[in-house]
Symmetry: C2
Subunit: 248 residues, 2 copies
């Protein structure tokens, strides 16, 4: 697709780390939130992967994603327990040492009395060499950035705070704009004229999303473009198509 | 990890196809449901990927996953509109032709009057050569299985029906059992004795999942094993550790 003002889109991938998502025990709430916030600031989330708490899996997914996208975000696996292996896996992926970081230890001490800062809790201050810390305004134990990889907590409230701390540091693109037109029709009834519009405007993305309403099947048509003019033009055409069909 | 009765675990991956998940417009509800159902029947979901509605992305993700896991499940992209490209991408991944399948066309006619079976709707009967159809008890347009890949709809209600139709056909393993112990503690307070239990029983998986309760931070400890005996043994030890700590 062509880009408004010729700007390169900024791309990202998300790596969700955790057995509990893959077993279904915990229902992920982070993918949708991160997707929405990145879209708002003009970063295109291009891929999500969910992998188990296994070092080889984390390392290979991380290396595949960080080579391909401008940014990678990870969630999960940075707590104090034995199953929290994300920081070590990230260090391994980057081939750097990992040890207790004095800055991270100081952050923990803002929240945890020194007498309670046991060996397990100190695990949360283990940070791969060369990382910048990501402030955690909720419970202090920081995330970190190394290269183009941002490592965040899995607990949604903490992840939200970390993501907001990261966002001002990111290179962003022209946000993708969208306009939704309710079709008041089944997908199959508007598919042909919709495909014709999509064919005429290959630079504009048109998605069709069926859903079940109380009155039966219905469809949301979503037009997306980085150009407000193209969005208005094609959005109007889709609206006219829907209105014409209803008037017919 | 060792397996009860030496049985090989059955593995699976899930490929979620759709721009709307990556843009955050639609919040995925399928990952959690599929993860839960597969776990119940003894299939280990080992990876999830979310990719956009782009043929190359679907083909490469599908080929990577189907080579590595016993089963692959996909959701999304099998409707009648121009952005529904999953069936074509799957045919391309397998290197087989794709055309309107008479069995699939007959299924559509159970739901759609022949006069309404336009070219767009007939797209839903395009099935890669050599596939078996997956019955859709909700709206008839079928999914399909080719090789170890099961292609399902993205609309949750339809996906649920297709998954239930598929399940009796799958090879299943010994289900992973789990037992949850509420720690009534912050993760950092139980991390050391928990790690000690985990170290002693490497064949049993122990996860620690912090959460915010109304009374402050708390933690769920989840013990998982395919062996009821090992689950009972290690679950009891974790419970004793928690009780001992509370009594202390």
């Amino acid at each position: 697709m062509s880009e408004a003002a010729g700007a390169q889109p900024v791309t990202a991938a998300l790596l969700v780390i955790g057995d509990e998502i893959l077993s279904g025990r915990t229902k992920d709430k982070n993918i949708g939130h991160i997707a929405e916030r990145l879209t708002e600031i003009g970063i295109d989330l291009k891929q999500v992967r969910v992998v188990p708490d296994e070092e080889d899996e984390i390392v290979s997914a991380l290396n595949a994603l960080r080579a391909r996208y401008d940014y990678v975000f990870t969630t999960g696996g940075i707590g104090p327990t034995h199953d929290d292996i994300t920081a070590d896996a990230v260090a391994k992926a980057f081939g750097v040492p990992i040890d207790v970081d004095p800055r991270a230890r100081a952050m923990l001490l803002e929240y945890i009395p020194e007498a309670d800062l046991n060996a397990a809790r100190l695990r949360m201050a283990r940070i791969p060499e060369g990382s910048e810390l990501i402030v955690n305004s909720v419970s202090k134990a920081p995330g970190f950035r190394i290269g183009n990889v941002h490592v965040m907590a899995g607990v949604p409230r903490i992840m939200h705070a970390m993501l907001e701390a990261i966002i001002p540091t990111l290179r962003t693109g022209t946000p993708m704009l969208s306009r939704t037109v309710l079709a008041n029709a089944k997908e199959g009834d508007i598919a042909t004229p919709l495909a014709e519009i999509a064919r005429r405007f290959p630079d504009v993305i048109i998605g069709s999303y069926p859903f079940m309403s109380d009155d039966g099947p219905n469809t949301n048509l979503v037009v997306r473009s980085r150009s407000p003019e193209r969005l208005a033009l094609v959005g109007d055409l889709v609206e006219e198509m829907v209105a014409h069909r209803q008037g017919a």
